[in-house]
Symmetry: C2
Subunit: 323 residues, 2 copies
C-alpha cells in the first residue's frame, strides 16, 4: 500500500494525450497495492487506475500480467482491464517507471468477510481458473517451494538473530517445516494461472455481490488447489486465530460447484494449506525487516501465519476445512 514514485500531474496530463481518454480532471496517489505505486486518475471520460511498476515487479513479467487481465476480462472475469493507448500499447512509461492504466473497478473490500463472501470468492476463484485455461502465456511461481528455501536463506543471512527474537524457536520451526515439505510438496496436480495472492483486500464487493478481483501481480502458473489453499488461509480464520469451518465449507462448496476437485486435490488440501501458510510466514518475515519507510502501512505481523501453520500441521483431512 504505497506511493513510492511521485507523478507530476503536468506530466500525467501530457501522458494522457497518448490515450483516447479526454483531459485530466484529478489524480490522487492511493494506498492500494503493496509492490507498486498506484493512483486514481479521473479524466473527462471516467476513472482509471494508474500503476507505476516498482523494482520488485520484474519488467519482463509485465506483459504476462497485463495480457492476463485483458484475457480474463474477455472471458467473463470481473477485473481491471488494461487501457490501450492510441498505438495499441498497454505498457508505457511515466516518471521513469513502466506504467499502465487500467479500468477502475467499483466496489470495496471487506476487512472481515462473512460466510456469504467466502462462498462468492470460491465461485470467482474457480471462474478465474477456468477462464485462464486458454491463456497462452506462462510464468513460473517464484514463491513455490524453491523460492521459500531461498527466501528463508536470505532472511537468515541478513536478519538471522532477529527471527528468534520475534518468537523463540521460530527458526527451528521453519527449518523443520521446510524439511518436511521438501519431500512432501506435491507435483502433478491440475494447474492453470493462479492469482496466488487473493486476500480480502484484493476482492471487491458492491451491494453484497462480488464485483471484481484486483492485483494480479503475483499471478503465475501453478496448482489450482494451492490457490484455493491460499484463500482458505486468507479468508477463513477469525481474528482470534480460530479456523471458521463454516467459511471454509462455503468457499470449497462454491469452488467445487464451478470446478470439481480431483480426489488427490482433496487429499492434499491440508498439505497445500501448510505450504501456503509457510509462504506468507516467510514473505511477511522478510517484509517485517525490509519495509521501505516510505510505505503507507506497517508490515503485517508474520506470527499470524505461524499460528495458521500450526493449525494446518494438525489438520487430518480436508474435512477439517469443511469439505
Amino acid at each position: 500500500m504505497a506511493v513510492y514514485t511521485e507523478v507530476f500531474p503536468e506530466e500525467l496530463a501530457e501522458f494522457l494525450v497518448g490515450y483516447d481518454l479526454g483531459e485530466l480532471v484529478a489524480c490522487k496517489g492511493i494506498a492500494e497495492g503493496v509492490e507498486n505505486s498506484n493512483f486514481v486518475v479521473e479524466t473527462t471520460r471516467g476513472q482509471f487506475i494508474l500503476t507505476l511498476y516498482e523494482k520488485r515487479t520484474a519488467r519482463e513479467d509485465l506483459p504476462y500480467f497485463l495480457n492476463l487481465m485483458e484475457h480474463l476480462a474477455k472471458h467473463g472475469v470481473r477485473c481491471p482491464v488494461p487501457v490501450r493507448d492510441r498505438e495499441g500499447r498497454t505498457l508505457r512509461e511515466l516518471s521513469g517507471r513502466p506504467a499502465a492504466l487500467v479500468s477502475f473497478l467499483a466496489g470495496y473490500s471487506f476487512r472481515r468477510p462473512k460466510v456469504e463472501h467466502c462462498g462468492q470468492l470460491g465461485r470467482a476463484l474457480a471462474g478465474m481458473h477456468l477462464a485462464s485455461a486458454t491463456f497462452p502465456m506462462s510464468r513460473t511461481n517464484a514463491l513455490s517451494f524453491d523460492g521459500w528455501v531461498s527466501l528463508y536463506a536470505e532472511i537468515m543471512k541478513s536478519y538471522g538473530e532477529r527471527v528468534d527474537e520475534l518468537a523463540p524457536g521460530l527458526s527451528v520451526e521453519i527449518e523443520r517445516e521446510l524439511e518436511f515439505l521438501k519431500s512432501a510438496w506435491p507435483s502433478g496436480l491440475p494447474t492453470s494461472v493462479i492469482h496466488a495472492d487473493l486476500f480480502p483486500d484484493n476482492v471487491f464487493f458492491l451491494d453484497g455481490k462480488l464485483s471484481g478481483l484486483i492485483d494480479f501481480y503475483f499471478a503465475c502458473n501453478d496448482a489450482q488447489a494451492y490457490d484455493l489453499a491460499i484463500c482458505l488461509n486468507a479468508w477463513c480464520f477469525e481474528p482470534d486465530h480460530a479456523f471458521n469451518v463454516t467459511k471454509g465449507r462455503a468457499l470449497l462448496r462454491e469452488y467445487r460447484a464451478a470446478r470439481p476437485l480431483e480426489a488427490r486435490e482433496v487429499e492434499l488440501l491440508p498439505l497445500l494449506a501448510r505450504g501456503a501458510a509457510l509462504r506468507f510466514l516467510l514473505t511477511r518475515l522478510y517484509d517485517w525487516y525490509n519495509t521501505d519507510s516510505n510505505a503507507l502501512v506497517k508490515p503485517k505481523n508474520p506470527l499470524e501465519y505461524r499460528r495458521k501453520l500450526k493449525f494446518h500441521q494438525t489438520a487430518r483431512s480436508a474435512s477439517d476445512y469443511g469439505l
Copy 2:
C-alpha cells in the same frame, strides 16, 4: 501525505447511513494531507473526501476549520464544502477518530507552477482574505514568532547535535534569525483568516484555471501580508533556488488588484518573507527527525528553506519580489 488510521469499508458503509449520500461504491486511502488520514469516497451520489483527524490536529480546532470552509464556500471561494449529516453535523467520528466528509474538488496541483498560475493564486488568496472578513470565529497562529521559539527549543532539546550535522552552522544561523526577528517581527498589520500553508499542492487547477484551494488545517487569524509572504516562498523559487521575480510580480499584482496593500505591508514584505522562510525551515527540521514511518512521503528537505531565508535576508525592498 498519509493514511495513519485505517478505515474498515464495512464501518464506512454504516457511517454513510447517517448522511443523505446514497450507498458506498468505493473507498481509497489517498496520499493527500500531511497531518491527517484522507480517503476518496465514492457513493451512488458522487465523490467525497473523508478526513480522519489525527493527533496533530487539535480536536477543539475542528469547528473552526469546518465552519471556515463552509463560510468561504458560501462567499464564493472555491474550496471543499463540509457535508452535513441527517442531523446537521459536519463533525462525526469513525475508526475512533474525529471525522468529516467534504465535497470532492475537481482539478490537480502543479508541481512546477508557471507565471500564470502564480497570478491566479494571488487573485484567489486575496479573495480568500476578503471572504473571511465576516467569519465570526478566530484562531491564534500557533506557528508565529512565539511558536518558532518553542519549536526551535524542542528541536534542540531532542535532536540538538543532529541539526549541525545537516548543515554546519545551521543552529547558529537559526538563533541569530530568531534574535533578529524578536524585535523586528511586526504587529498591527491588516489581519483576517489566513490559509498559512498555501503551497502548490494545496491549489488545484482545471483547464488551466484555478479550480480551488484545499487543506485549511493550518488556517488561523494573522497578518494577510504574511500569508502572501508564505506564497512568495512556496511558489516563486525555481528548482535551482533562484527567486523568479516574474512569478513574484504576477502573484503580487493579482493580489493587489483584488486587495490593495498598505504602504507598511509593502515595506515589511522582505521581513515577512524571512519569518515565513524560518517557519518552514523549523517545521521541516522538526519533521525531518519526527516523520512517522507510516507516512507516505519522505519528509521535505529543510535546507531548501535555509536557502530561501538567505535570499530574503539580502532583499532590500518589495521591489526585489517584483513589486
